[in-house]
């Protein structure tokens, strides 16, 4: 059967969009069907919790969403406390506000950038599971109904999920017996208050800058209303607060209840559910959205592997096994909160006990971790495959950064250039003479959707710095409008396989030093003029500064020099927030002829503790890490990337 996609995602809300992006990041193609023709324009604020922020940061999504304001303390069933208590050290402890439409637009763009297809105005009307896939009936905005097939289908279509109904999931739980009435009202003046308790109920009011007031009210003991009209809201408001809002003009009415339902299984055959489609609960403190996004993060990579035939047995089953209990726990915790929130006088004393307990650090930590999603144990997602998947992305740790990698037409330099680009950096691919090889590096990067340009400059000859920086700055300006350079990797160097010390000529000595020591020195000198705060310099040294090999004496001396460059400059650069480090590779396959001789490779393998020769990627990954923000606390360091060769 020809498939239209590996996975069909139904619903283009935050959960569906994020799941789609995760599928693409992990090498599967997704097609999104959304019944609404337009993204939601509602300006409601969503609250993102620490675990969600962590996931977004890991995917580089926070840069896309822009600055998210921290919002004040959260609450447990209306008892205020700061969610940052979950883990004061956590970079995203607390809660963060993101406008719903900004979140959806950001996630949609992210998914589209990764190559996903999103069809708006397309409604799923039927669904059938075949032995090896799923077939759906779709009705689009125009044209006749059509069918689509895929390996898997995920319903991210919310509380009233069509997919859930069509696929026969059991949505067990209970209906609401209490509800909070909400209204946006113009023309009233009511004091702001947050979940204030009165004798007969609970009321919230806040006045927006535009002069409208959001009211929320629950009268203790009131069952859910049938049809909601403003008269009911005004009556409840008056009964609870004694204030009259009946003269106001209602702009929007809504209510939410304490229903608690969860599907008994998150997967039925090839159909899965995520987000509100799988669980519905009182929307307190944004827990529903965060739970849904965390469902997507858990499911994405597993499903991508399963849908492309790369999953180990049982991998996908882990989704239900992990997320059903996590959902059940959140639901229970929300019900506990609902009890405290909606309960009348009979709950006052127990609420007071919880209030006292919230004075205790351990309690704040426990409940904040629970609400923030930081107490969920799940199997870690494997690192995104290093195999290149054209058109698929990256983890974006270096978005908007620029990098110069010297000697990146091949070997470690090329592998580094590719990785930096994959992380989102614009890379200047420097080379000395081999136009073809440099072009290949650039092509590989562009093929992945990355951005790079070649810069030719032979090092160790008069005018080398001028040539290098002319090409570099021109290339940067053309692409970014400025010549800012965030990352410098001094990788270019010359070496030979071996030469007795007594045979070395002064000319050869000078050449080693000119290319391997002097050029890096002056490249750093010039680069620092272009480098902003937070810049990164990585100098490639060699394991030979730590293990004796007289046949490579002069080469090793140059590497000793570059380590000194690192060491002494580190102190100078720290005030600017720039780190500088040395990375020392051992025997690394640079594509040289010797690496084609099996016996030689076998012999060389014995040096590493891992009993294999290093691949360029092994070293490039270490270099890449040093260029990220995650390595901000390392500077002046000698980083051993020899695969344990120096262990002796």
């Amino acid at each position: 059967m020809t498939r239209h996609a590996d996975v069909i995602v139904v619903g283009a809300g935050p959960v569906g969009l994020f799941l789609t992006a995760e599928l693409h990041t992990n090498g599967a193609r997704a097609l999104v069907l959304e019944q609404l023709a337009e993204p939601t324009s509602e300006s409601r604020a969503s609250i993102l919790h620490a675990r969600t922020m962590e996931i977004f940061a890991d995917r580089g999504l926070l840069t896309r969403l822009g600055e998210l304001p921290a919002v004040g303390p959260g609450h447990f069933g209306g008892l205020r406390f700061d969610l940052a208590a979950a883990d004061e050290e956590h970079p995203y402890a607390g809660q963060w506000e993101c406008l719903q439409n900004r979140l959806e637009v950001g996630l949609e763009r992210y998914a589209l950038d990764l190559g996903a297809e999103i069809r708006r105005g397309h409604t799923v009307t039927g669904l059938a599971q075949t032995g090896d896939g799923v077939r759906v009936e779709v009705r689009g905005p125009d044209g006749p109904p059509y069918q689509l097939t895929s390996a898997y289908l995920v319903g991210c279509d919310g509380e009233h999920s069509t997919v859930r109904r069509l696929a026969g999931f059991d949505f067990a739980g209970r209906d609401a017996d209490k509800e909070m009435l909400r209204a946006d009202v113009a023309g009233i003046a009511i004091d702001n208050r947050r979940l204030q308790r009165f004798r007969n109920g609970i009321a919230t009011a806040y006045r927006r800058p535009d002069g409208t007031t959001r009211l929320m009210v629950h009268r203790y003991g009131d069952p859910p209303a049938g049809d909601l009209d403003f008269g009911q809201v005004a009556a409840a408001w008056a009964a609870v607060t004694g204030e009259d809002v009946g003269h106001g003009r209602p702009l929007w009415l809504n209510r939410f209840g304490n229903a608690a339902r969860q599907v008994t299984e998150y997967q039925r055959g090839r159909v899965l559910l995520a987000g509100d489609a799988a669980h519905s609960q009182l929307p307190v403190g944004g827990q529903a959205l965060n739970l849904g996004l965390q469902d997507a993060a858990n499911l994405g990579w597993k499903l991508a592997h399963a849908a492309t035939g790369r999953a180990r047995p049982g991998l996908l089953a882990g989704y239900h096994a992990e997320r059903h209990p996590a959902g059940a726990r959140t639901l229970a915790n929300i019900q506990a909160q609902a009890q405290l929130l909606f309960g009348g006088e009979e709950v006052t004393a127990l609420r007071a006990v919880f209030g006292e307990l919230l004075e205790l650090g351990t309690v704040r930590r426990h409940l904040a971790s629970m609400i923030s999603g930081l107490d969920v144990q799940e199997r870690p997602r494997p690192p995104v495959s290093t195999t290149l998947i054209p058109g698929r992305s990256t983890v974006d740790r270096l978005t908007d950064k620029t990098a110069l990698v010297t000697g990146s037409s091949r070997g470690i330099g090329r592998a580094t250039a590719i990785r930096l680009a994959r992380e989102g950096a614009l890379v200047a691919v420097h080379y000395a003479t081999n136009d073809l090889a440099a072009g290949e590096t650039v092509a590989l990067i562009e093929k992945e959707g990355g951005c790079a340009f070649p810069v030719r400059a032979e090092l160790g000859v008069p005018g080398d710095m001028h040539e290098l920086f002319l090409g570099l700055e021109r290339g940067l300006k053309e692409r970014t409008g400025e010549s800012r350079l965030d990352i410098l990797v001094n990788n270019a160097g010359v070496t030979t396989t071996g030469q007795a010390p007594e045979d070395l000529t002064p000319e050869e000595f000078d050449r080693y030093f000119a290319v391997n020591a002097k050029a890096p020195y002056f490249i750093v000198q010039r680069a620092l003029e272009l480098m902003p705060e937070g810049g990164r310099i990585v100098n490639i040294s060699s394991g030979l500064t730590r293990t004796a090999n007289p046949d490579q004496l002069a080469y090793s001396m140059t590497k000793g020099a570059i380590e000194q460059l690192t060491f002494h400059l580190a102190r100078r650069l720290a005030p600017r927030g720039i780190t500088i480090n040395s990375v020392a590779p051992g025997i690394t396959n640079n594509g040289g002829a010797i690496f084609d001789i099996p016996e030689a490779v076998e012999a060389m393998s014995q040096f590493s503790a891992f009993k294999r020769i290093g691949e360029a990627g092994d070293v490039a990954d270490v270099i890449t890490f040093l260029t990220t923000d995650g390595a901000r606390w390392i500077t002046g360091a000698f980083i051993d990337a020899t695969g344990g060769t120096l262990l002796g």
Partner: protein, 495 residues
């Protein structure tokens, strides 16, 4: 004057008060309407604080055999009260009849006049004295006293006669209780939720089983006499499937979760202590324990005022201290009663709470609450952590003698405990020697996290609360002594 104090009711609160007054040398008459002790088991446990109180009066040996345990609960959720690190454990399986017998023997030995078969009728508070009308085997009599204390239970006649305001909430659920002989049931000490209700089983001394059963949402019916055992057995059968109808009932009773407290503990010359001042669901036996501690708080104060040592305003602290303690106890029993009696809708809250109870910090907080150790009276500002708190049991060496803070409190007087050999401190207390014992002692190794670490001196009230401590006190020792024991006197001959 027929007595300095008339106490109505010879339950634990009344007997404790009588003993305390006698210990302080005050004459007291106790009126009890029942001709004999009932023999009912009723309250069966003592909290850590009550055990400390009893030890501070040397009463533990009078209780006979009893079991102690560190296993407690909060609203049915198991709770280790051992985390409090107190020297005493809670006691269970002491039937109230044993407690009353012990307290009565103690009070009587001290000279209390206990008159059974005398029922309170009315009172007349004339400002300088109160006249009590009571009926007894020999007819109606009038008894004149300086003060009257109503320790006559939840339906207190004294409370009604003196016009105390007793606001609160009515019961929503009725629980039936039966103490049984001739059954062997699996203990369910902290109770158990069953479909539609709640059941509990405790083993008491003497092979007696106590069963408690309640049906959710069924409010108490108006009863003129205790429920028939058949009613208990039927409900038990329905909820547990177990037939207990063949058992021999020793005592059958019904109680509810009504929660009420008087707004003032004293009106003129009439005071209330125990259940007459507060009713609530008897969760974890906190009712009787609170009652005993009401009397423990009141006795020495009433005695100081009657002796003329302290001004009448000292009695106001009885209201402020015990009203707050009672309100806290009521709040915690209400919280517990929601956990115990609430149905499935409360399950999520129970689940969250039982996770939290796993933290020692939380267990300590709740254990202190149900053990009566969370009380901190307002004794004036300061930073010393023991200020206003009960003095923990502290073993001491005083000269060649081995003693303890508990033992030093046995005479029922104030104690200034000088832990640092400070002659100036002792000299300052010189003028209160007739009311306060001054002891220089050395404490052994303190337990970890002891609040007493670094404390060099404490002034203990007769009820074992720390009225002053050094360092970290905002007021002088002299003003603390004056506040709790009355103005300084030049040494005068002992009466």
């Amino acid at each position: 004057m027929d007595a300095s104090v008339v106490v109505v009711g010879a339950g634990p609160a009344g007997l404790m008060l009588a003993g305390e007054l006698r210990l302080a040398g005050i004459d007291v008459m106790v009126l009890e309407r029942f001709p004999q002790r009932t023999g009912e088991s009723r309250g069966i446990g003592f909290t850590v604080r009550t055990m400390e109180v009893f030890d501070q009066r040397g009463l533990l040996r009078r209780l006979g055999e009893y079991q102690t345990s560190t296993m407690g609960h909060f609203g049915g959720l198991p709770l280790d009260i051992g985390v409090l690190g107190a020297a005493h454990q809670a006691a269970r399986t002491v039937p109230q009849s044993v407690t009353e017998e012990a307290l009565e023997a103690w009070a009587t030995e001290l000279g209390a006049h206990i008159r059974r078969g005398h029922e309170f009728r009315s009172l007349d508070d004339t400002g300088d004295r109160v006249t009590v009308t009571a009926s007894g085997p020999d007819g109606v009599e009038k008894i004149r006293a300086r003060y009257l204390v109503g320790c006559d239970g939840g339906r207190s006649g004294v409370r009604k006669a003196a016009g105390f305001d007793f606001p609160g909430t009515d019961a929503t659920t009725e629980m039936l209780l039966a103490d049984l002989r001739g059954v062997d049931l699996e203990p369910r000490m902290t109770g158990q939720q069953v479909g539609g209700g709640f059941v509990m089983v405790a083993k008491l001394a003497g092979g007696i089983h106590r069963v408690i059963v309640g049906e959710r949402g069924i409010p108490p019916r108006r009863r003129t006499e205790p429920p028939a055992f058949a009613e208990v057995a039927d409900l038990w059968k329905r909820f547990t499937g177990i037939d207990i109808s063949h058992a021999e009932p020793v005592w059958v009773s019904a109680f509810g979760d009504a929660t009420r407290q008087v707004t003032e503990y004293r009106r003129g010359r009439v005071l209330l202590a125990g259940d007459s001042a507060h009713v609530h669901l008897p969760a974890g036996g906190q009712g009787m324990n609170t009652s005993i501690q009401d009397s423990y708080n009141l006795g020495w104060k009433l005695a100081a005022v009657l002796r003329g040592d302290a001004p009448e305003s000292l009695l106001d602290t009885y209201h402020t201290e015990r009203h707050e303690a009672g309100a806290r106890m009521l709040a915690n029993t209400q919280a517990q009663s929601l956990l115990v009696l609430g149905g499935a809708e409360v399950q999520p809250l129970r689940a969250v709470l039982s996770e939290l109870i796993g933290y020692p910090e939380v267990a300590r907080h709740l254990a202190a609450k149900v053990s009566g150790l969370d009380i901190r009276y307002d004794v004036g500002g300061g930073t010393n952590p023991v200020l206003g708190r009960r003095m923990p049991h502290l073993p001491l060496t005083a000269g060649a003698r081995t003693t303890s803070s508990t033992e030093l409190l046995r005479p029922g007087r104030g104690v200034l405990l000088d832990l640092a050999g400070n002659a100036m401190l002792r000299r300052r207390a010189q003028d209160w020697r007739d009311r306060v014992d001054v002891v220089t002692g050395t404490a052994g190794a303190l337990p970890e996290h002891s609040p007493l670490a670094g404390t060099t001196a404490v002034l203990l009230r007769p009820d074992g609360y720390v009225a002053w401590a050094a360092p970290g006190n905002r007021q002088s020792l002299s003003s603390a002594l004056a506040r709790w024991f009355g103005p300084a006197t030049r040494p005068r001959p002992r009466r």
